[in-house]
């Protein structure tokens, strides 16, 4: 009896490889860099093609003390949460973050309205405090971001940060800054493969290299329609592996902020006595949100709770094992 052929998928293309952070030799001050992307097969299908770079975890920190975060998260971080630099240090030194995702929520007009100079100073301080690569994320108020992000870009010039976000309605300012200062970009699109592509095209038409773009197609938490971003990401990934250059960008996902918005993560034991231990429930929820997104092909997970970070990192270790498959 003849042996059946393995039903392996052959993909003609691969995801762009992108390095975040610059070592001294490359004009930066980082002591480590992070490389994502490069996959030539669907996530963790090692038998079909290589996944040269493992997914990474960026820990989310804010430039101000987050007013409404669950105590389960703030307790785990401790007093460091009051200072962005201390917080960043703790994430790297104690929790082992691969990179830091600085969200400039304090610059939002309704949220402290910090000046561009203050924001740029926070960026500088964090680059000083930690030596891992940095993701810099605006407050998602277009007008304010257009004032703040160019200053931050300038302050981090040469450090090859990942900056975001650009949307189809607002991209010119940040694209120009990142082009001038050597950073990479996050293109934001609302769960729509075509709009994701359109953002990439608009950015590339300004002369920005497509291999320095990361896509954020928005996300959802477990139990809150995560199937939708999952299928969009999967479609994007199969298109990219099939040869669509406009979809061949690595993907970033806001896991922590989505998971910790759910009542399942936030409710106290007093509010929901039947739901189990409140100190682990949210951690599980963040973990449970990260796992399907990893399967869908997320390259950079932005997370909040240190325990969830540890759990997801171990899970990635297992997914990346290639022997025995």
């Amino acid at each position: 009896m003849s042996k059946l052929e393995d039903a392996k998928e052959k993909w003609p293309a691969a995801i762009h490889e992108l390095t975040i952070g610059a070592l001294a030799a490359d004009g930066g001050t980082r002591t480590s860099t992070v490389t994502v992307g490069g996959a030539a097969a669907l996530p963790f299908m090692h038998f079909e093609g290589p996944t040269p770079n493992r997914p990474v975890i960026a820990m989310e920190i804010w430039d101000c003390e987050p007013p409404e975060w669950s105590e389960v998260v703030t307790d785990a971080i401790g007093d460091a949460i009051k200072s962005p630099t201390e917080w960043a240090k703790k994430c790297v030194e104690e929790f082992g973050a691969d990179l830091i995702c600085l969200r400039l929520m304090g610059t939002h007009p309704d949220f402290g309205d910090k000046s561009p100079e203050e924001a740029a100073q926070v960026v500088k301080d964090i680059l000083e405090a930690v030596s891992v690569p940095l993701v810099i994320w605006g407050c998602e108020n277009d007008a304010k971001d257009n004032e703040v992000l160019p200053r931050c870009s300038e302050a981090a010039k040469g450090e090859c940060c990942l900056m975001g976000t650009v949307t189809e309605d607002n991209y010119k300012t940040l694209v120009a800054s990142c082009l001038a200062d050597g950073h990479s970009l996050i293109g934001l699109s609302p769960i729509d493969i075509n709009i994701a592509k359109q953002v990439n095209i608009l950015v590339s038409e300004m002369g920005f290299p497509l291999d320095r773009v990361v896509m954020y197609q928005t996300s959802a938490a477990l139990g809150y329609g995560i199937e939708y971003p999952y299928s969009i990401q999967e479609r994007g990934r199969t298109a990219a592996l099939g040869g669509d250059k406009m979809m061949a960008q690595p993907v970033i996902c806001m896991v922590g902020s989505e998971a910790w918005r759910t009542k399942e993560a936030k409710a106290t034991a007093e509010e929901q006595p039947g739901w189990g231990d409140e100190t682990t429930r949210g951690v599980f929820w963040e973990f449970g949100t990260a796992v399907p997104l990893l399967m869908a092909g997320t390259d950079i997970l932005v997370m909040r709770h240190p325990a969830a970070v540890v759990a997801v990192r171990e899970y990635i270790d297992r997914l990346m094992k290639t022997e025995g498959v």
Binding site: D169, K197, I201, L202
Partner: protein
């Protein structure tokens, strides 16, 4: 009830109106047509009038700026009579003027003489025909009835299996025959499967036999007077559909037609347009109204329903079922159309609620059902209808494209009539270099082909990005913010325009156009997908609809409206609707062909439930398209740069 006098300027018409009536209703009662895209719901902002004097009350709205209000500008539908009032209806709010008829080129393409007559696709055999009969005088051994005598004489000329003669003809026939010394002319009309002797008159009047072909457009009604003996078109006329006061599109009108009274209003408006056109045609051609014996109309399903006075509301509601698909041939007088007393009226059949007789007529005119090669027909009227097929099969669909190509939903939009910018060219710096205005003179607004040109040129010069957003660095001083905060690009400053008001293209206009062109392109893709064909399989593309006459194919491909095919295979059909109706009028065979080989052979594809449409629509909302690979010639050009 208190009533007041309301005077409309510059018409100088005064009517009485009850307190609390809105000015739009009063204007309609006064016979002053005011544009109302939304049919008076207060959401379109197009029915701008100026209250010169008198007391009115008005509901607040978002359409008028501070300056407008100071000038006394009000929205007619949101302004209520509260005293004697003088109102001016400015040019921009007028439903008026004479629409442009299809340009000579388009008419040449669709010329009926090439499709009906000797050695053409269909023989000449008009729906109303006159036969001169020199009847044998009855004698004792030949005493068949007067009726049979006429039938026999007719049968000697032609094989007519089923003939009938109505009571009113029979009542007169005895005296007519005897008074005319048995020399009479019989007027025959085709009605379903039978031939009716409609009229018997004395002497030989067979030289005087006319018919009218009508295109019942949502926006424009066009009528051609035809000599049914010679097939010659004697006169052509067009006017705007008066139903416009009840809403710009068929949906708004169907929503208005909620009861019998309102349905009657809509029918009356349409019928009086047809009557006005016929009256104008016969007077221009110097023929007598009583010699016009047949009227045939081609219109979309809703218009046909309005004409026949049928309930249209189920067309609009899921599952979109019209009352009628094969309209009967009726006495014209029954629907109120005035021609000869016993003249007949018919309308072309429709395929579905949103693919009507106008599209069927287009198909007939193109001859696409007579070739094995695959053709694509796109009718871009107030809505988009598409047909794909050949001699063996046809699929059709309706794309809810909206009225952007007719100027609807475009801030300075207007129809392709006098004063409309129909084409525009920019220099490299993004300034208007050259523009064509219909009828010459200063521009009044911009029509469909003009807006396509403008967007194409804005894109070419980098004034907009591929998402359709205005780019400040390239637009320079031409870019500004409107009172409502929308970004707009100034094409012409007030000093260079007919109304003294700037002509602009706003970001919202561009977005509207992108949605419109996207739905047309997506509809093409869905039709092809449904039958498993590719763009390259399409060998002919026909563009029907008045707006097609001005359309520049390359520019339309450039913004992603039309598929990227060799411009040489695109042909403009012009007003296929009226041409097709005319063919049916002149040839019973063509009329039968419409029923048997077109209407009944077309498969309707419902796009609202078609997955591909839903999944990929947003990919078309880009200039020209998110997947540039779908536009190989544009991709080559871009790469060459």
């Amino acid at each position: 009830m208190e009533t007041y006098n309301v005077t409309f300027q510059p018409d100088g018409v005064t009517v009485e109106a009850a307190r609390g009536k809105n000015l739009l209703e009063v204007a309609a009662a006064a016979g002053v047509a005011v544009t109302a895209v939304c049919g008076g719901d207060g959401v379109c902002g197009k029915c701008r009038v100026i209250v010169k004097s008198g007391k009115v009350t008005a509901k607040p709205n978002i359409f008028l700026g501070r300056l407008d209000i100071q000038r006394g500008v009000a929205l007619a539908c949101q302004t209520y009579v509260d005293g004697d009032v003088v109102v001016e209806v400015p040019l921009e709010s007028r439903v008026g003027g004479v629409p442009q008829l299809a340009s000579e080129d388009a008419i040449r393409y669709g010329r009926v003489s090439e499709r009906v007559g000797e050695a053409a696709a269909f023989p000449h055999n008009s729906l109303a025909r006159k036969e001169y009969l020199d009847l044998p005088v009855p004698e004792i051994d030949d005493n068949t009835s007067d009726q049979e005598r006429i039938f026999e004489a007719l049968r000697r000329k032609q094989d007519i299996p089923i003939m009938q003669m109505g009571l009113s003809v029979l009542r007169d026939v005895a005296s007519v025959l005897r008074a005319s010394n048995w020399q009479v002319t019989a007027l025959l009309g085709h009605r379903g499967g039978t031939v009716e002797v409609m009229e018997v008159c004395s002497g030989d009047t067979s030289g005087r036999n006319y018919g009218v072909a009508v295109d019942l457009g949502t926006t424009t009604v066009v009528a051609h007077l035809v000599d049914l003996n010679s097939s010659e078109t004697l006169a052509t006329k067009a006017k705007y559909n008066s139903q416009v006061s009840f809403g710009d599109d068929v949906i708004a009108r169907m929503m208005y037609a909620t009861n019998g009274e309102r349905r009657r209003q809509l029918q009356d408006a349409l019928v009086s347009d047809v009557n006005d056109l016929i009256a104008a045609l016969v007077s221009e051609a110097k023929v007598k109204l009583q010699d016009v014996h047949f009227v045939i109309c081609a219109g979309n399903t809703t218009m046909t329903h309005f004409l026949y006075g049928l309930r249209p509301e189920h067309i609009r509601k899921d599952p979109y079922v019209p009352s009628m698909s094969y309209p009967p041939t009726v006495r014209a007088a029954e629907v109120g159309v005035t021609i000869s007393a016993r003249g007949l009226l018919a309308a072309l059949p429709s395929v579905a609620s949103y693919v009507g007789g106008d599209v069927i007529a287009d198909v007939l005119v193109t001859g696409m059902t007579e070739s094995e090669e695959v053709s694509l027909l796109i009718d871009m009227g107030t809505n988009g209808e598409l047909v794909l097929g050949n001699s063996d099969w046809m699929v059709c669909c309706s794309a809810s494209a909206g009225p952007a190509f007719e100027g609807g939903g475009i801030s300075c939009g207007m129809r392709a009539t006098n004063g409309a910018i129909e084409h525009i060219k920019f220099d490299e710096r993004g300034r208007v270099k050259d523009a064509g205005v219909v009828g010459g003179g200063k521009p009044l607004g911009i029509c469909g082909s003009g807006i396509i040109d403008a967007v194409g040129e804005l894109l070419r010069t980098g004034c907009i990005d591929r998402g359709g957003r205005l780019m400040p660095d390239k637009c320079g001083s031409r870019l500004r913010e409107s009172e409502s905060g929308d970004k707009e690009f100034v094409l012409f400053l007030g000093k260079d325009t007919a109304l003294g008001r700037d002509i602009v293209v706003t970001e919202a206009d561009i977005s509207n156009l992108i949605h419109t062109k996207g739905s047309i392109f997506m509809a093409v893709e869905c039709l092809l997908d449904h039958v498993g064909l590719e763009f390259d399989d399409v060998k002919h593309v026909y563009i029907a609809g008045g707006f097609g006459n001005y359309l520049q194919v390359e520019q339309a491909i450039g913004i992603g409206l039309l598929p990227d095919l060799d411009p040489g295979i695109f042909q403009c059909v012009g007003n296929g609707s009226v041409q097709g109706a005319k063919m049916a009028l002149l040839s019973l065979e063509a009329h039968e062909y419409i029923k048997d080989r077109i209407a009944s052979c077309m498969t309707y594809l419902e796009l609202s439930t078609y997955h591909k449409y839903m999944n990929e629509y947003s990919s078309t909302l880009f200039l020209p398209h998110t997947d540039i690979e779908k536009f190989p010639s544009l991709m080559e050009k871009a790469e060459a740069l």
